[in-house]
Amino acid sequence: MPEPTVDLLTDILGTVLQESAFIFAEPDPEPEAWEGEVLTARIAFESTQGGSLRLVTSPRAAAEVAANMLGIDPGAEADANGQAAISELLNVLGGAFLTRFFGAAVPSQLGLPATSVGTSPEPAPHRTCAAAVRLESGEAIVLELDLETR
């Protein structure tokens, strides 16, 4: 099995953003520290190895993703759907990661995404790999992989 790479996570994140939300994002090799509220979504997976994926972003980026997914203008409705949009985005990212990293022929399963909002993301204790992208608006989205060792 290949080692997970930043390039793989960056490609999956960029592709899923483009296909799910019609958002074009650039890789951000050195993301800045989070300021203000931070939205974190996490989803567990099980395959030949278990682990989890975590998506970290700002509520503003979440609202931007929601507006694009739903084809609505920025505003109250987009803000209200931001958390659910990031949750769904991570769900699709999870499926894309499993089929690309472990392969479509390998049995694998995703859990249910869970989201939380805080002033800083909880530290990921076993972070294996992470990738960040920046949206045209300047907002960042970070995808972190926690791959369990067996």
Binding site: S20, N91, V92, A96, A104, L112
Partner: protein
């Protein structure tokens, strides 16, 4: 038509896709999980179910199994609209009775093609 997904955003996206691809659907009902879907199926005439797999309470596979074993519901086709899955999982859900699988994210045209293939019409459905 019945859209079953625990994500309200996804349910709205499917509704939007149905509109964008030119399908004339008179009514789109929604359910947040398989149990809610069975309740909706008991109360409305549904021509086609678009269901996610990964849901709390009752997942999409259990929904398909329950519908397949119910004489009143076994004729209602189910399309699984879910995140990319391993081949064995796709085969499993098709074996259990689902008619087709559409991977997220999908283009509206792909949804139209599946619906037309199953219902044989691009519009005029009552449900």
């Amino acid at each position: 038509m019945l859209v079953v997904d625990d994500s309200p955003v996804t349910r709205k996206m499917v509704r939007r896709a149905l509109g964008l691809c030119g399908l004339e659907v008179a009514q789109v009902h929604e359910a947040g999980d398989g149990a809610e879907a069975l309740d909706q199926l008991g109360r409305h005439h549904i021509d086609l179910v678009l269901a996610d797999i990964n849901m709390p309470v009752m997942n999409g596979i259990e929904l398909v199994e329950r519908m397949s074993s119910d004489p009143d519901l076994c004729g209602v086709p189910v399309v699984i609209v879910a995140t990319p899955m391993s081949q064995d999982r796709v085969e499993h859900v098709l074996d259990r009775g689902a008619r087709a699988y559409l991977a997220k994210p999908f283009r509206p045209e792909a949804l139209r093609d599946v619906v037309v293939q199953i219902l044989g019409t691009a519009g005029g459905s009552d449900a």
